[in-house]
Every structure is written in structure tokens, then in C-alpha cells.
């Protein structure tokens, strides 16, 4: 079983603060990491390989710092990595990610399964999976919360808003997972040490025949700021004693139907 897992480097968003005066996010000294749901996809790949054997290739697109960040994936259990890096590949849009990932996957050799998170931790657009499936002419199973492979058949339970859907499909297939699918492992120190020695191919967009400057951008960001919170901010500090005051306030706002 050859499994490709597509991962994305993002800032550790837990550590991003907002500058109050400008409402801008502050990224100074914020470490880079792999996306949260990407780690669920990797974990699922490792569990499948533990049962069925085979090889896991982590594929990613990003700026040069990715060469270091990808060690997380190798420590978690990926056997090798194929990276497309260039300075201009920082926070690129989904359409370009999908094209570069498709080309990079072409370099990684034959595969049976492609796994991704349902969306990236930062942009959470959810487009890369379906776009990649279209580019590679693969069936797409999105929002999987459990996977089961027997022979050449994959069974998945998809988690939609209000119901679960059981589906079945023959390999090869592209699957996006939700974070509920598993609990990603924390790699042991020996795994982290080994990660640096695992094979890693680093390509440029030009190597793949996609000169970045020529790729027409599809979206433009006009601004990106923390939302204005226009809240009253009235704090009752006396606990239960303040309940009548709270009820009165809600009543005055017409929020209680009586």
C-alpha cells in the first residue's frame, strides 16, 4: 500500500496574538508547524501501514522553511518526503497548491491512497482535496471519520453536518479526514532523531514545469484583520446574586419571551 499524505506548513495558531491597536495578527517568534488536521491524516496513514504494510510519502508545498517543518511528518511515521519549495510559495492559494501537489505526487511514484485533512488549519478553505482529485481524475471521499481497507476496497464513514454516510470505493482514491478520526501520536525522541535521515526530495516549481510567476492568481486579499468586537462587556461579579440583574438586562433587550 503506497500512501501519499499531503500536509501544509502553518504558523502555530495557538501562539498568534492580535495587536490591539491595528487588529493585525502578530507572527514574530511564532513557530511553524504542520496543520492540525494534516496530523490526523498522517496518523491514519501510519495506522493503515501498520496493518497493510507499504510506504508513506509526505508531500508538501511551501517556502524553504518547510525542509525543517517536514521533519515532524517524518518523525510521526512518514517514510519519505517530496517537497516543492520556493520563497514565493508562502501562503499560496488553493488552486496553485493543488497544481503543485499534483505534479509533486507525479514524482513520488505510484500510489493507492491520497490522504489530506478536510481543510488547512489556517485558511480552512477545503478546496485542495477536491481540486487535487479532479486534477488526478480520482474519486473523492471527503470528511471521513473512519476508514477501513480490505484488499483493494476502501470503506469510509463520512461525517456530514447532520448525518453519517457510509461509502465504499475501489483504490486508488483521495480521502480527506476530519479531526475526529484519530488522536495523532506524539513522536518518540528516537523517531525525531531518525527523521532527519529519512529521504527527502526537494524540487522547485520550475523543476515541475510550473513557473510561479506565470500562474495567474485567482484571489486577492484586500484586508485580513481581527474582527471588530462590538460588545457591551458588562461584567457581573457577584455570581448567583447578580442573576436578577442579568434577567432584567435581557428583558430590557427584548430577549426573553414571556
Amino acid at each position: 500500500m503506497n500512501i501519499i499524505v499531503c500536509v501544509k506548513q502553518t504558523y502555530d495558531l495557538q501562539q498568534v496574538r492580535i495587536r490591539k491597536e491595528t487588529r493585525q495578527p502578530v507572527f514574530e517568534n511564532v513557530p511553524l508547524t504542520l496543520g492540525n488536521i494534516d496530523k490526523n491524516a498522517l496518523e491514519e496513514a501510519v495506522r493503515i501501514r501498520e496493518k497493510a504494510g507499504g510506504k508513506i510519502t509526505a508531500v508538501s508545498v511551501g517556502p524553504e522553511t518547510l525542509e525543517d517543518t517536514i521533519k515532524e511528518a517524518l518523525a510521526m511515521g512518514a517514510d519519505e518526503a517530496v517537497l516543492v519549495t520556493a520563497p514565493k510559495l508562502d501562503s499560496i492559494e488553493s488552486a496553485l497548491s493543488a497544481v503543485l501537489l499534483a505534479k509533486a505526487i507525479g514524482q513520488a511514484g505510484p500510489f493507492d491512497l491520497i490522504l489530506l485533512g478536510e481543510g488547512s488549519t489556517d485558511n480552512y478553505s477545503g478546496q485542495v482535496g477536491p481540486r487535487l482529485a479532479e486534477l488526478l481524475d480520482l474519486p473523492q471521499v471527503t470528511f471521513a471519520k473512519s476508514l477501513h481497507i480490505e484488499g483493494r476496497t476502501l470503506r469510509a464513514v463520512r461525517s456530514l453536518e447532520d448525518y453519517l454516510e457510509d461509502v465504499e470505493v475501489d483504490l486508488p482514491v483521495l480521502v480527506t479526514v476530519v479531526s475526529e478520526i484519530n488522536e495523532p501520536r506524539i513522536p518518540a525522541i528516537t523517531q525525531i532523531l531518525k527523521a532527519g535521515r529519512k529521504p527527502k526530495r526537494v524540487l522547485s516549481p520550475e523543476d515541475l514545469g510550473i513557473p510561479i510567476g506565470k500562474f495567474g492568481l485567482q484571489a486577492e486579499t484586500i484586508s485580513n484583520l481581527a474582527p471588530l468586537q462590538n460588545r457591551k462587556g458588562i461584567l457581573f461579579k457577584e455570581g448567583a446574586k447578580d442573576i436578577p440583574a442579568l434577567v432584567k438586562a435581557l428583558e430590557e433587550e427584548g430577549l426573553l419571551r414571556r
Binding site: Q127, P130, E134, F143, D162, I243
Partner: protein, 312 residues
């Protein structure tokens, strides 16, 4: 004449998109068309003011499949000369939007919270950096796809059916995915996104049976109980359909009571559209107080039952 084309597999959302398209169409001088792949929507679209409704009775369209529906929409987009396609940003809508965008070489923005026409074109807002910020973005492609969040606006109102119906014959490849069964997540399925009052609970609850405290308050307020993600996915105290947050539902209630919730951004993005937010937490420094209109420092085990009693 170029048009705005709308589609959602969810009826209510489809008619909200129609309302938005009618509004934008006037400003952009575009006709409004709809794809009624679920045939029952066809007549409703006409009644609600859609100029042209594309419909097909092909067997393959009987159940939603992103790949099959993307083919159908790409062909209808060509036939209708669509310049803008609006899709409902449900999970199904999102997987459809991405595939369709790639098929058509279109730019696409998903999970849009607003979409407005300004001088130079359409401008959308959507969450970025995990909800820490809201990005204002526009597409620059000639064909544009926007997946809009449900409950973005009121559905188009029904009236006299005047629009024309275009029966199309589509060239569709079947899906390679076999659907085996569907199981509802919540037998008492409630409409979290449309609810006027939500009582949200988080890890401040100690035991599964204590969800009852929140349910009592919700029923006193004629609302529903929703929760943070860990309460449903890790602890399974509530069905997953009740999750509020970035990867869950986005509520827009008039009143949200958030009890035992610290207010991490992953949750906050799902509730910050609420008109009034009441927070109950023992920790005076909890972030939830910063986004609340009314904060009450105290133990939810004391506060909620007493609040319920005071409302009766």
C-alpha cells in the same frame, strides 16, 4: 446574457442564495438562474423569482455526489453563460465547489460570511488564520465561484411563478463511489444555525448527566443546547450535530448563553455572529468574557439552575 447561477442541495440555503443572487443581479445587471438538480426545487425557484431554472431528471442526479453534480453544474454553467456561481457552503457544497472550480478553471472562495458588490466587483469576507482574523477577498478570474454560509440572508419570498424552466440533457460520468447507508447524528435533529436562542456548554461541565442543566435553561429560553467540539467528539455527551465552531456550525442566535466555555477562537468563530452573548465562567480571566455582552463570574452548577428558575 451572462448570469448568476445558484445551487444548493439544501432547500432553504438554495433560496437564500437565490435572494442574494437577485440582489446582486440588479446591481451587476446579471440575470439570475438556478440549477435545480434536486427536481423538487425547480418549481419553488420559479415561484421565488428566479428567471431561469435548469433542471434535469437524469437518474444519476437522484442522490448528491460531488463528482456527478460538479459535471452537471459545469455543463449548466456553460449553457447559462454563468459569470458567477453561488453554492451553499455546507460540507457537501464545499466539496462540490472545489471540484467544480477545478473543472471550470474558476476562482473559488468557500465559507463566505458576506458577499457584496462594490465598484470593481464582488467582495467576500471569510475567516482566516483559524478564525483569528476575517479576510476581505475578491476573485480575479472571469468565472467566479462563491460558497456562502447558510443563513447569510432570508430566503427569497414566494410569489407568482414567472421564470422559464429549461430541461437540460447532461453528459454525465457515473461516480465511482458507492453509497451504502445514511445515519442521522441526532435523532432529535435541531436547527442550530437557525436557532434564535442557544445555550452552549463546554468542558466546564463535569459529567454527561449534567447536560440536563443546560437543557433545562434552553427549554426555559425556548432554545437549543449546543456545545464545544471536545464535548461531542471526545466525550460524546452531545451529538456531533450540536458542535459550534470553526469545523462545526456557525450559530447566529439573538441570544447565546455560553457556560463553562473558555472562549478559544475555534469555538468563538461559531458564535461571534450572535446578537447578544451571555457568558458564565468561574475564571474571571476567561477569554469568553471579552466577547460577551453580559458576563457572570460564577459556577455554572449554581448559576444555570437559578437562572432557569428565575425565568420561569
Amino acid at each position: 446574457m451572462p448570469c448568476l447561477l445558484v445551487f444548493s442541495e439544501q432547500d432553504r440555503c438554495a433560496f437564500e442564495l437565490l435572494q442574494k443572487a437577485i440582489e446582486l443581479g440588479k446591481k451587476m445587471n446579471l440575470e439570475v438562474a438556478a440549477a435545480a438538480l434536486n427536481a423538487s426545487q425547480g418549481e419553488e425557484f420559479r415561484r421565488r423569482g428566479c428567471a431561469r431554472v435548469y433542471t434535469s431528471s437524469q437518474e444519476l442526479l437522484q442522490f448528491f455526489d460531488a463528482f456527478v453534480y460538479a459535471q452537471a453544474l459545469s455543463q449548466i454553467a456553460a449553457a447559462s453563460q454563468a459569470a458567477v456561481i453561488l453554492i451553499g457552503s455546507t460540507r457537501s457544497g464545499k466539496e462540490l465547489a472545489g471540484r467544480l472550480a477545478q473543472m471550470l478553471g474558476a476562482g473559488c472562495l468557500t465559507d463566505c460570511q458576506t458577499l457584496e458588490y462594490e465598484k470593481e466587483g464582488l467582495v467576500a469576507t471569510r475567516n482566516a488564520f483559524g478564525g483569528a482574523t476575517v479576510a476581505t477577498q475578491k476573485l480575479t478570474t472571469s468565472l467566479q465561484i462563491y460558497a456562502l454560509m447558510p443563513y447569510l440572508c432570508e430566503p427569497a419570498a414566494p410569489g407568482k411563478a414567472e421564470g422559464e424552466v429549461v430541461q437540460v440533457s447532461l453528459d454525465l460520468k457515473p461516480s465511482r463511489i458507492k453509497k451504502l447507508k445514511k445515519t442521522p447524528k441526532d435523532l432529535g435533529a435541531v436547527d442550530i444555525e437557525g436557532a434564535e436562542v442557544l445555550v452552549c456548554v463546554g468542558k466546564g461541565l463535569a459529567k454527561p448527566e449534567d447536560v440536563k442543566i443546560a437543557e433545562d435553561l434552553a427549554s426555559a429560553l425556548s432554545g437549543f443546547v449546543a456545545c464545544t467540539k471536545p464535548l461531542a467528539t471526545d466525550l460524546k455527551w452531545l451529538p456531533e450535530s450540536r458542535i459550534i465552531g470553526l469545523s462545526g456550525k456557525k450559530g447566529k442566535p439573538k441570544l447565546a448563553v455560553c457556560a463553562g466555555i473558555s472562549g478559544q477562537v475555534q469555538f468563538a468563530v461559531g458564535i461571534r455572529e450572535a446578537k447578544t452573548i451571555v457568558a458564565v465562567n468561574t475564571d474571571p480571566n476567561a477569554y469568553i468574557f471579552q466577547m460577551a455582552d453580559y458576563g457572570l463570574i460564577g459556577d455554572l452548577y449554581q448559576i444555570l439552575p437559578q437562572l432557569t428558575a428565575a425565568l420561569k
